[in-house]
Amino acid sequence: MELFLQQTFSGLAFGGVYACMALAVVMIYQATDHLNFAQGEMAMFSTYIAYTLITWGVPYWWTFLLAMAISFVGGVLIERVIVRPVEGTSVLNEVIVFIGLLAIFNSVAGWIWEYTIKPFPSPFPKEPLFGNKFVGTHDLGVIGVTLVVLFAVFLFFRFTPVGLAMRAAAQDPASARLVGIRVGWMLALGWGLAAAIGAVAGMLVAPIVFLEPNMMGSILLYGFAGALLGGITNPAGAVFGGFAVGVLETLVGAYVPFIGSELKLSFALVLIVAVLVFRPSGLFGFVVVKRV
């Protein structure tokens, strides 16, 4: 029982990180119909920016907010400058741009900060809260922070006019233009938000997996798995899927002997394939019929 609880909490912490990545991916997918393969490397780059701020002596939580803000601006710029020119040209062009972004962020990070593994601080104390045996304080903090961020995103989309306009622009750009919504800027805003949410994921997971240019590769894969499981067309579903994948992955790693920690990643792939085969719209997805 103790092991089960420990693993579940640890899984929820990873799940929070996957949920953030899943949400970031879904936000861009809804607006563009594409998976942003560079989402993980963007988050990694944000984490390096946070790392630099910390080495300059900026306090942790200021760093946290600053890194989110910088990532937001960076995301907006990427959309305006790099993605926009190829938008709607062809699927291949767009995918190539995403993959190009991935490669560029990875090598630029390696070039600036080197490929050596760096420790990244956690804002939470090392001692377990109230001396409990089940959950580390960092894990608890990760769960808490991701829930706060995800809830804030929910409130933004649900209750603000700009959030509503972003949903409208993603659903039906032509109609959105007819009511005066600047669809291009809504897309850019979506990229900015996705980048900021990814930054949160990167900063929270870095103390666990350590900081290096490839740190987000597998995490993005789990994020994809979570998004697909919950439903790539449903942000709330994707968030749920992220948490579910985190818990499943940890429990499977702990209890299924032949999988262990080495084969855990293939679990994500198996899950992705299984979802695509048996329920392509995910658990909570909308079935979208494309009229041709």
């Binding site: 006019p161 509503l164 306009a165 949903r167 409208a168 659903q171 039906d172 032509a174 109609s175 959105a176 233009r177 007819l178 009511v179 005066g180 919504i181 600047r182 669809v183 909308f286």
Partner: protein
């Protein structure tokens, strides 16, 4: 001066030219209708005014040159387009659809009043305000499209077959409401309609479009008497 002044308007889908130089104008406060057979270019005309297709030529609205602008900039001058196919945001609620109409307005009080007014015109929408708009019936979505346009507080409404998919009694009701909006809210209208007799009854001016050209124009009364129009569109 006319509210809308169109000269030599041409429109293209890719290389295909669909409008071949339209000249017409709209008086402030009036209702004008464009008649024409399927494929004549009625929808394209409304799209061209809103910058939804590639155009050439001049369009002046309230004295401002709007041709060639982006759709989202053009509509901000006060043009509300009820598009062919309704353009419902299917996964948003009825009320969210309506609120989006007021997206560019910064006067919450007037917006709130307009929302109430839309609910008065279309009580059905009020009953279904929290329902996902995609699950509304076709007729209800048509009301929603008109309501959303009203929420923009427009000077001009472009209506593309507002009666499409409506039962005859609902069509009449809708046209009564459009007439009321025109009088009470001082909203000018450009209506494209399959149902020519209905359109001519409500309109004061009419144009007949044939393969991208205006072939007949005049007051609604004159057009109603016109031999060609009667044979082809009114059926008597």
């Amino acid at each position: 001066m006319a509210l809308l002044e169109v000269s030599k308007l041409e429109a293209f889908y890719g290389q295909t030219q669909v409008l071949r130089g339209l000249d017409f104008s709209l008086e402030e406060g009036g209702i004008t209708t464009i008649l024409g057979a399927n494929g004549a270019g009625k929808t394209t005309t409304l799209r061209a005014l809103c910058g939804m297709v590639r155009t050439r030529g001049e369009v002046a609205f309230g004295g401002a040159k709007i041709a060639g602008g982006a759709t989202e900039s053009i509509v901000r001058h006060g043009i509300a387009h009820v598009p062919e196919g309704r353009g419902t945001f299917v996964r948003l609620s009825t009320e969210e659809n309506l609120r989006l109409g007021a997206y560019t307005r910064r006067d919450p009080q007037a917006v709130g009043e307009d929302l109430e007014r839309v609910f008065q015109y279309f009580p059905r929408l009020k009953e279904r305000r929290h329902q996902q708009a995609g699950t509304l019936s076709g007729g209800e979505q048509q009301m929603l499209a008109v309501g959303r346009a009203l929420m923009m507080g427009p000077r001009l409404m472009l209506l593309d077959e507002p009666s499409f998919g409506l039962a005859p009694n609902l069509t009449e009701e809708l046209f009564d409401i459009l007439g009321a909006i025109n009088k009470e809210r001082k909203v000018s209208m450009l209506v494209v309609e399959q149902n020519a007799s209905l359109a001519l009854a409500i309109a004061d001016h009419a144009y007949l479009l044939e393969t991208g050209r205006i072939v007949i124009s005049g007051t609604a009364k004159e057009i109603e008497q016109d031999e060609t129009v009667r044979k082809a569109y009114l059926g008597y």
